[in-house]
Assembly symmetry: C2
């Protein structure tokens, strides 16, 4: 068995958002630089890092926070990617055209070129998470990019709960899956179900790593914003779902961690799930449900 | 919200297999009776409970261990189900016809009638688990049964690792998913990766509970058989993936636990993943992979 290591250093930026978008961009550029100084080759931001999590209310003026891609944020991110020689996965509020907005991730290669976009496919809508008001569900499917340092995919937050999405990027060859995220405790939940919610969130992402034999990196924001206390705890897990490192639940923190991409082959040989999928039997996955009467 | 409890008592039989199939059947009948005496309404056996785990070698004489369904084991299980008024999920080595064998679960309703069969869809093949030699992959898809006490589905062991299978039974209305199982540590693995393997096994099943908002019950065998030390630790988790009870890693044990099926609705409203599936975007789930050159 080929056991040659394929080391790759990842940087995840867990941050507390400020009110002014300009300052969040500045702060994130500093943190990207810190990650690069520590040797990170691929750096990922939290979800919608330029702003606070504005989806806690439905307010048409919040669409002013969106920007075009390309646009100002992308320009400066491309410049710093090229300067530092790092791949950047950046989560942005995209204004696609008048009245059409997406929750989007831009993937920038280490030479500063834009490799492409992922537009969040699964959009939540719950009290304090009014995302269906802001974001049109994505129309770009589940792309995978060959960056200078590895084959990666990006899914965003609510996508975390859908095994289909993780499977689809793995089948296309992704070896590291990034999840920029904004999830936290609502005040009334914390006592009752807070710990369980956090456990479920970490657990289902670790399961995607196992089912697909890939690395998973979750990047969450931290700190109180209005009614949500974002729970941080960004983490990286290996292709058997083992958590390699995890950040604070209350503080800003860059996770810098080296992964070994040869472990993708190692674990897939050990537990060869991809060999045994019954693709002849999955046709009903296209249905929303079967029961007509409850 | 309708918060009327829908309690249902489950019994899981974690056992150490004896050499003689007849004695395993006798022992299991006693344990079914014990479960019923404690109030269990649905009882599930471990995988291939009538025999030791014979798949550690490829030996044509082992096909003698298979039996037809209907057949002797099913007859006595139907009789005891009817006598005790319990639903029984029984994992059997099925001889379908000369030279055609399956790893099958029979679902018997509380009146003793056979509701149907599930034939293991995903078949492993690894050192000490030579199942592709014995079992033809199933051709009955992913059925769901309305038993006297609830809507249930059965998947078997290796199926545990495939999110598609759990999704498909949930979409058909299953509220409790049973996994009869035979998994353990091989001697050479234990020191190095034993704990991680067990963690991955429990974790991916808990993730199916979360993704689909269903109860999951895993029933594993226990004890040393040739080169495998079966790790027991049968468990039940709720629709948010929380482990409600777990058995010993070394001893025989009946798990008897009451679940509340109204929690399926509760958790699906809390985290409405089934609302947001992008069935328009999953077509590539039918492919085995995309990469043609590695």
């Amino acid at each position: 068995m080929d056991s040659k290591k394929q080391d790759l250093k990842i940087g995840l930026i867990q941050s507390q958002a400020l009110l002014e978008p300009k300052k969040n961009l500045e702060k994130t550029l500093i943190k990207i630089r810190q990650c690069a100084e520590e040797g990170a080759q691929i750096v990922c931001t939290q979800e919608l890092f330029c702003t606070r999590y504005f989806c806690q209310i439905e307010d048409p003026s919040n669409f002013n926070l969106a920007e075009t891609i390309p646009g100002h944020s992308l320009d400066v991110l491309q410049a710093i990617a090229s300067e530092l020689g790092v791949v950047i996965v950046a989560s942005l509020f995209e204004k696609r055209m008048k009245g059409l907005y997406h929750n989007t991730a831009a993937v920038i290669d280490a030479d500063g070129s834009l490799l492409g976009l992922y537009r969040k496919m699964h959009i939540p809508e719950d009290p304090d998470y009014y995302e269906k008001y802001y974001f049109t569900p994505g129309d770009l499917g589940y792309p995978v990019w060959t960056t200078r340092y590895g084959k990666i995919a990006v899914l965003i937050c609510w996508d975390q709960w859908f095994p289909e999405a993780a499977r689809l990027v793995a089948l296309q060859g992704a070896e590291i899956l990034f999840y920029p995220t904004a999830i936290g405790w609502q005040d009334e939940d914390y006592e009752k179900e807070g710990e369980d919610q956090y456990q479920s969130w970490q657990l289902i992402q670790r399961a995607h790593a196992i089912a697909n034999g890939i690395y998973v990196c979750a990047v969450n924001r931290v700190g109180q914003e209005d009614r949500i206390n974002f729970w941080g705890q960004s983490f990286i897990c290996n292709p058997s779902g083992k958590v390699l490192c995890s950040a604070s639940s209350t503080e800003e923190e860059n996770i810098i961690h080296t992964v070994d991409l040869s472990q993708v082959e190692y674990f897939r040989r050990k537990w060869p799930f991809l060999r045994d999928r019954r693709v002849d039997s999955y046709k009903n996955i296209f249905r929303l449900g079967f029961m007509e009467v409850i």
